[in-house]
């Protein structure tokens, strides 16, 4: 394999460090086994463990009274890796191999085809440039082969942490749609479960650490509510066939199967799409670019909400806690007290940091998309025309800035323009909120913990859950409605509006 181009290397490095795992490249065609393991698998572990350490620091900020410190980050990092991520990954990897996920260091395997394949390929000259005919179209060579080359590699070990660490970067380009990554409906189910495993468990850890399990359950309930509603929308959308295709005589009963795998069908694909974007995983088992407009809008919007619906390992919880502080601030005022969450007053400094954390991603997403649709380089990458092309750019920046990593993959993102812009979006989208969260944690830890009374706003009941869901949805909706209206909403109306 040839050396990776600099822009792509920057993008990929940022991508894996930030737990985004956006991939501008196809794994099987670009990366050696050693790069995949040492650079990517390691970062899969470390970026997840880092976010875990951050969220633990934040929780300590809530728990500790008038304290100066937040604990030892190195120790937390080591614990997260050694006690949680590694053992779970080992077990899960073996389960996946049992289902058919490959795990070897063999060379790519040649297979003799049962029926030879004839195909066409653009002719290239000595410099690798396509040869054009008189009309300016590329000249095509017709070739025939009776050989299929199966990409191999240590897939299961990376697959396990890719899911458990909510990283999402596939060993192969097709990610979890690839049969070697996700061979059976059962492996698919287990992968979905493993995405949510740690983010959901962290809610319980939170409850336990703050000494009130109901606090954690409330966060989990808020996440679950949004998730179920969003899944319902994607599922409803994808059950419909593309009316443009049924007009051509395609059976509409089975729904929209473009970009989906037969073994998963509609339900397991839409569920996966919702889970992978609710959590900041970004692994895909269906091509989101080919989802129907509303079906594609939901994953996009779930990311735009800030990856707080379960979200990433650690990052989901701290993101949700940011929203909890926002919700508490508004609600606290409404009951006539200086807002407090878990006994800590939410004051000007906290609001400043909360604002920064909430502001940075819209800035990156909307700003980035604006640059992309204004510039020639940006427009050149769009694979689909019209409103869908806009959605591709919007999705790319939503995914990068929120560290998801999934894509409307038609976008040719492996160009210097996108590699650098998206790399920057990933970097700032990851670390600015982390800095804000750590600043809040430090400030909170130094505060005394106030006692709970009947005058304290309860942050564990259904009312708070509704409030929290409202805060997440309203902020997400108000920020992105105009952009979404010009992308998926209008496309949906164009497709079904008649």
């Amino acid at each position: 394999m040839t050396a990776v181009e600099a822009g792509s290397a920057f993008n990929t490095a940022v991508s894996f460090v930030t737990n985004t795992n956006w991939q501008g490249y196809g794994g099987e065609t670009t990366m050696s086994y050693l790069t995949q393991m040492l650079a990517l698998t390691v970062q899969n572990f470390l970026s997840a463990a880092t976010a875990l350490a951050v969220v633990v620091a934040l929780i300590r900020g809530f728990v500790r009274r008038s304290a100066a410190g937040l604990g030892n980050a190195w120790l937390d990092l080591g614990r997260a890796t050694g006690y949680v991520l590694l053992p779970l990954s080992l077990l899960f990897a073996l389960f996946l191999v049992g289902q058919g996920v490959i795990q070897n260091f063999s060379a790519y395997q040649d297979v003799k085809l049962t029926e030879p394949v004839t195909y066409q390929q653009p002719k290239t000259d000595a410099h690798g440039q396509p040869v054009l005919d008189a009309a300016g179209k590329p000249v095509l060579d017709t070739l025939k082969t009776d050989k299929q080359t199966l990409a191999m590699g240590p897939v299961a070990s990376q697959e396990a942490i890719k899911m458990l660490g909510v990283n999402g970067g596939g060993f192969f380009n097709a990610n979890s749609a690839h049969p070697f990554e996700n061979p059976t409906p059962l492996s698919n189910f287990a992968q979905m479960l493993s995405i949510f495993l740690i983010p959901a468990a962290l809610c319980f850890m939170f409850g336990r650490l703050v000494g009130d399990m109901r606090q954690g359950v409330a966060l989990l309930a808020a996440m679950t509510l949004i998730f179920i509603a969003m899944f319902a929308v994607v599922q409803w959308s994808e059950m419909h066939a593309n009316p443009l295709l049924t007009q051509l005589g395609v059976d509409g009963a089975a729904g929209n199967m473009e970009g989906k795998e037969t073994r998963f069908g509609i339900v397991a694909s839409t569920l996966f799409a919702t889970i992978t974007t609710a959590a900041s995983c970004g692994a895909v088992n269906a091509m989101h670019d080919s989802l129907l407009p509303l079906g594609g809008m939901v994953p996009m919007w779930l990311m735009q909400l800030g990856e707080v619906v379960f979200g990433g390992v650690g990052s989901g919880l701290y993101g949700m806690l940011i929203f909890a502080m926002l919700a508490v601030f508004l609600a606290g005022l409404m009951i006539g007290r200086t807002p407090e969450y878990l006994g800590k007053k939410i004051e000007a400094f906290e609001m400043k940091m909360v604002s920064i954390a909430i502001l940075i991603t819209p800035l990156l997403v909307l700003g980035g998309t604006a640059v992309a649709v204004l510039s020639k380089d940006g427009l050149a990458g769009l694979a689909n025309p019209a409103a869908h092309g806009f959605s591709e750019a919007l999705y790319a920046f939503s995914s990068a800035a929120n560290n998801n990593g999934s894509a409307f993959a038609g976008l040719s993102a492996n160009t210097p323009f996108y590699n650098i812009l998206l790399g920057l979006a990933m970097w700032f989208g990851r670390f600015v909120p982390i800095i804000a969260v750590l600043a809040i944690a430090g400030k909170l830890a130094a505060k005394p913990r106030l006692a709970v009374s009947a005058g304290t706003m309860p942050t564990h009941g259904p009312l708070f859950v509704v409030l929290l869901v409202g805060a997440v949805i309203i902020v997400g909706a108000l920020t992105y409605i105009p952009a979404l209206a010009l992308g998926p909403v209008v496309e949906q109306l164009q497709l079904f509006g008649h």
Partner: protein, 706 residues
């Protein structure tokens, strides 16, 4: 403090007087200057203080320029439309200015009413702290802290001061509205005198404690006046949130231009969204409702405090009042009425009715609660009615005699009736050559032992008997405490009484806890311990020995009648010196925060409807399909945008009364309160603009403007 010889230690609520001072919400005397002030506040420097409204201001300027350009024939849209938007954006800014100006005007009017009493007066400055030292007559405005002044009967107290020498009765009605004069003397807890009050009898030598302009009242006035007003911590936090929301919408609107350029190219039709429409959308989305009313809410909170005759030394204190978890309340005056006559204990040879009759006569002119209670008791027991006494000469309580009473000319002789503490009456009777009855002494001791206060009555040199005064729990106080409990506020009664008495009163009053036999240091310890549990504590105090506790408490209300040290240590001064006021203070603090939260929620919830109005309108030409989102079925794209902008401006005016009066306060637990306010202001905020924008659109249609 519950020595009965100190009259009027229990000032009562005087609601009628306070309300007389309150102005109608849109009082013409306030509205006119406020309108003028709204235009004056259009200066960019004034606008910069409020980032949200500054954005509107910039938008107004921008659209005005675009409108002028359109008039010149090069507009991006019809001039009428652009100028219509520009006009309403200017109105938005003006309405917000008006709200602020109106609140400031009210605050200043109230402060002026309070300050009315402190016109400059003549001060008699003493060369040294002696009654007979050399006197220089100067203007009160030139007094400085530390100056010594002499105030004699009939003089107005020239500045806040502390009594060094002398005892005098002082009329504080100008400040407190309470007509009964109070005694001021050096040392102890009754040594502070307030500028503007009047000395009625005797003389005082006092040291001035504040420089002109530094008095509490002046500080309070500074807090409602725009330029010098500092934002409170919570106001700052909320402003940060509002700025963040503004930035988000700025981003959403600014990026809409490139998005729309792409869309026009992609759809192959329509025209890019204009700057005017983007500005209109931005102004509609940013939280102008709360942004425009935020400072008015804060000023109104201060002004409500002043209306309650409470002067806060900082806005922070008012806010903290809303957070209080524990109220420390002095028993006497706050929880109990203090001493009320409960029994007549006649001396040997005197009937109960005779004693009652004499005691009533002695009290007819006595306006203290004790005096009134004696009149009432005599009436209840023996049907003795209050009588008009002609030619009677009333002897008011004086600090020297420590007795009060009446001289009634009757059949050539004069009936001299006196009542007072046992010691004072004994001295009086013996001076007249009368006999001090041992039985009366025993009765008085017995009353004292029961926790009551004995008042001895004598006619001439004849001791008539003892009136028993008992501590009575105030009516309605139990319900008040129950409300506080529902709000999550704990009440602790502080009393010097022994545990038994304290427990009985605590149970009767329904307080959550009590501290008996409390010394000042116990109070301080209680506050520290409570704070260590993570609770915020509020208390009232008046004595110098209360100062450390006042300084430690999170909300500390000093009685105006208290010492200078107490006032310095506290962060609020109650001009009425009414300890029950603490409860009102807490409510006012809560109300201010609630109003902010409610209007913020309302403001943000409004945005949903505005999106439904503007987005389909803005992109009608590019993507006609988006018409589906126009659920309000508005007349035209222009009318939709204009209606949203008009609604956005008018809602500020509509909500001014709410901002100034505050969200109605209810004694509910946090959960119930939140549910209620979320329903009213959250859900209401979602629905109201749909209706409002539609109505405005219909009106524009009818007027042929759209």
């Amino acid at each position: 403090m519950n020595d009965m010889t100190k009259p009027s230690s229990l000032p009562q609520h005087t609601p009628t007087q306070r309300h007389a001072r309150a102005l109608a919400l849109f009082d013409p005397t306030l509205v006119k200057p406020a309108i003028a002030e709204s235009f004056r506040k259009l200066s960019p420097r004034a606008q910069l203080r409020n980032p949200v409204m500054f954005v509107v201001w910039v938008g107004s300027v921008l659209t005005t320029v675009l409108g002028a350009q359109a008039l010149a024939g090069q507009g991006e849209a019809p001039a009428g439309f652009i100028l219509g938007i520009a006009a309403w954006l200017w109105f938005t800014v003006l309405f917000a200015n008006f709200a602020e100006a109106l609140a400031e005007g009210r605050g200043k009017a109230q402060a002026a009413a309070l300050r009315g009493s402190r016109r400059n007066v003549v001060a008699k400055k003493l060369a040294e702290a002696r009654h007979d030292a050399k006197v220089t007559v100067i203007d009160s405005a030139s007094l400085r802290r530390g100056d010594i002044v002499l105030i004699e009967a009939g003089d107005t107290v020239p500045a806040d001061a502390e009594v060094l020498d002398g005892v005098a009765s002082v009329d504080e009605s100008a400040i407190t509205g309470e007509s009964a004069p109070v005694i001021r003397e050096s040392g102890g807890d009754f040594s502070a005198i307030t500028g503007g009050t009047r000395v009625l009898s005797d003389w005082l030598v006092a040291r001035v404690t504040t420089n002109p302009g530094e008095a509490f009242l002046d500080r309070m006035i500074a807090m409602v006046e725009g330029a010098r007003r500092k934002k409170t911590p919570n106001e700052i936090a909320l402003t940060i949130l509002l700025v963040a929301l503004t930035l988000i919408f700025l981003l959403a609107c600014a990026t809409l231009l490139p998005f729309s350029l792409y869309s026009v190219k992609a759809a192959g039709g329509g025209s890019p969204v204009g700057i005017t429409v983007l500005v209109a959308l931005l102004v509609c989305l940013i939280p102008t409702t709360i942004g425009g009313l935020l400072s008015a809410i804060g000023v109104a909170g201060m002004s409500r405090m002043m209306q309650a005759n409470v002067i806060a030394t900082s806005g922070r204190a008012v806010e903290a009042a809303g957070d209080v978890d524990v109220l420390l309340l002095d028993k006497t005056g706050t929880i109990t009425l203090g001493n009320q006559a409960s029994a007549f204990l006649p001396a040997p040879g005197v009937t109960e009715q005779e004693l009652a009759d004499v005691a009533q006569l002695a009290s007819l002119s006595d306006e203290t609660p004790e005096g009134r209670s004696i009149v009432v008791l005599a009436k209840e027991r023996f049907g003795l009615r209050g009588r008009e006494l002609h030619d009677a000469h009333f002897i008011p309580f004086s600090a020297q005699t420590r007795m009060s009473g009446v001289d009634i000319p009757a059949a050539g002789a004069v009936r001299e009736i006196r009542k007072g503490a046992a010691e004072a009456v004994k001295a009086h009777v013996e001076a007249l050559g009368g006999q001090w009855a041992l039985a009366v002494y025993d009765a008085a001791s017995e009353v004292a032992r029961r926790g009551g206060t004995p008042l001895v009555v004598a006619e001439g040199k004849r001791v008539m008997g003892v009136v028993e005064l008992k501590d009575i729990v105030k009516g309605g106080i139990k319900e008040r405490f129950a409300e506080l409990r529902a709000m999550g506020i704990k009440t602790v009664m502080i009393t010097g009484d022994n545990r038994l008495t304290a427990a009985a009163i605590a149970a009767e009053a329904g307080v959550d806890d009590f501290l008996a036999e409390a010394r000042p240091e116990d109070k301080l310890k209680l506050i520290r311990d409570t704070q260590a549990e993570g609770k915020l504590v509020a208390m009232t105090g008046d004595g110098t020995n209360d100062a450390p506790a006042l300084a430690q408490a999170d909300v500390a209300v000093a009685m105006n009648s208290g010492t200078q040290a107490a006032k310095e240590a506290g962060n609020m001064v109650d001009l009425d010196s009414n300890p029950t006021k603490l409860i009102e203070i807490v409510e006012t603090g809560k109300q201010m925060l609630m109003t902010r939260g409610a209007l913020t929620t309302f403001s943000v919830a409004n945005d949903v409807a505005k999106y439904f109005a503007i987005i389909p309108a803005a992109f009608a030409a590019t993507y006609p399909q988006l018409k589906v989102l126009d659920v309000m079925r508005l007349n035209s794209p222009d009318s939709a945008i204009l209606s949203a902008v008009i609604f956005n401006a008018l809602i500020i005016i509509v909500l001014i009364p709410l901002a100034l009066k505050g969200v109605k306060y209810r004694a509910l637990g946090a959960g119930a309160l939140l549910r209620r306010n979320l329903l009213v202001y959250g859900l209401g905020g979602l629905i109201v603009p749909f209706v409002g924008i539609k109505l405005i659109d219909v009106a524009l249609g009818v007027l042929g403007l759209a």
